[in-house]
């Protein structure tokens, strides 16, 4: 096994372990910290699989921006903090259903002959990805930018709070 292959299995083990920890922690801060580990490991996996640009973006956008936003919200709202793992009874039914789904997916993946090909050790340059993105898929990029703007406007509207009966609708203070 080459060094890249060993790195892949190591990162995959870290990823799945941290994901299971995230799903079972009761304290939301602990869960978000485990989720940061998951996204860092996914960024590493992207780099191993020859996608340095999505890997770096994964670290910056997911582990950096989105998870810090989650932490901000937890601290802003003062969510109730439990301790330790979830009780096993709550995890039983989703766990059984998830295990059955996973078994079916593994059988499907194993039965596909195209999935058994060994991956080449190739790297896609960020310039090639960027050129493709803005050349062939420019419409999708524009659609995502409109979606982000709509999400921004909706977040501003929702976060502003409800104005009182006599007050004008503009104003920064929440009700």
């Amino acid at each position: 096994m080459t060094a890249l292959g060993a790195l892949f299995y190591l990162l995959a083990a870290v990823l799945l372990g941290a994901a299971i920890l995230t799903a079972t922690r009761r304290n939301p801060v602990h869960a978000v910290c485990c989720a940061v580990v998951v996204f860092l490991a996914v960024g590493g996996l992207f780099a191993v699989l020859g996608a340095p640009l999505p890997g770096v973006l994964m670290v910056v956008v997911y582990a950096g921006a989105i998870m810090v936003l989650f932490l901000f919200i937890i601290m802003l709202l003062g969510l109730p903090a439990g301790d330790g793992p979830l009780p096993a009874g709550r995890l039983l039914v989703p766990g059984i259903l998830g295990a059955a789904t996973l078994l079916a997916l593994f059988v499907l993946i194993g039965a596909d002959p195209a999935a058994q090909t060994l991956l080449p050790a190739a790297q896609a340059s960020p310039a090639a990805v960027g050129t493709l993105l803005f050349d062939t898929y420019w419409l999708a990029v524009e659609a995502v930018s409109i979606l982000l703007f709509a999400a921004l406007a909706a977040a501003l509207l929702l976060g502003r709070g409800r104005p009182g009966p006599g007050q004008p609708a503009t104003g920064g203070r929440g009700a």
Binding site: L4, L16, A19, F46, A51, I66, L152
Partner: protein, 103 residues
């Protein structure tokens, strides 16, 4: 590199199922959102593996677009969470039952 594509797909499937089980098992809306993020990330991982297997960069472009969708989803979901907490006082998904009549 000695990794078959099936192992990448297996890791992506496992992450997807963990995210789905998390969204189903947790009651806090915050944890449900993190579960949905895991599911989107698993889709991105499968895209990157397929891009490498077929030598086609389009998969990586799709990952970047999925990332934009996921950040819009997280921003809107968290804004809804803050709004719900302000008007309802809780982040428990089971307690948003005002349309049921008695709550």
């Amino acid at each position: 590199m000695n990794i078959p594509l099936s192992h990448v797909l297996a890791v992506a499937a496992a992450l997807f199922v963990i995210g789905g089980a998390m969204a189903a098992a947790r009651r806090s809306i915050l944890m449900i959102l993190i579960g949905v993020e895991f599911m989107l990330t698993a889709g991105s991982l499968a895209f990157v593996g397929a891009a490498l297997a077929w030598g086609n960069v389009s998969g990586q472009a799709a990952v970047i677009i999925v990332m934009g969708l996921a950040s819009a989803e997280a921003a809107l979901g968290l804004a809804l969470l803050v709004h719900g907490r302000r008007s309802g006082g809780t982040v428990d998904a089971d307690s948003y039952a005002r349309l049921g009549g008695d709550a």
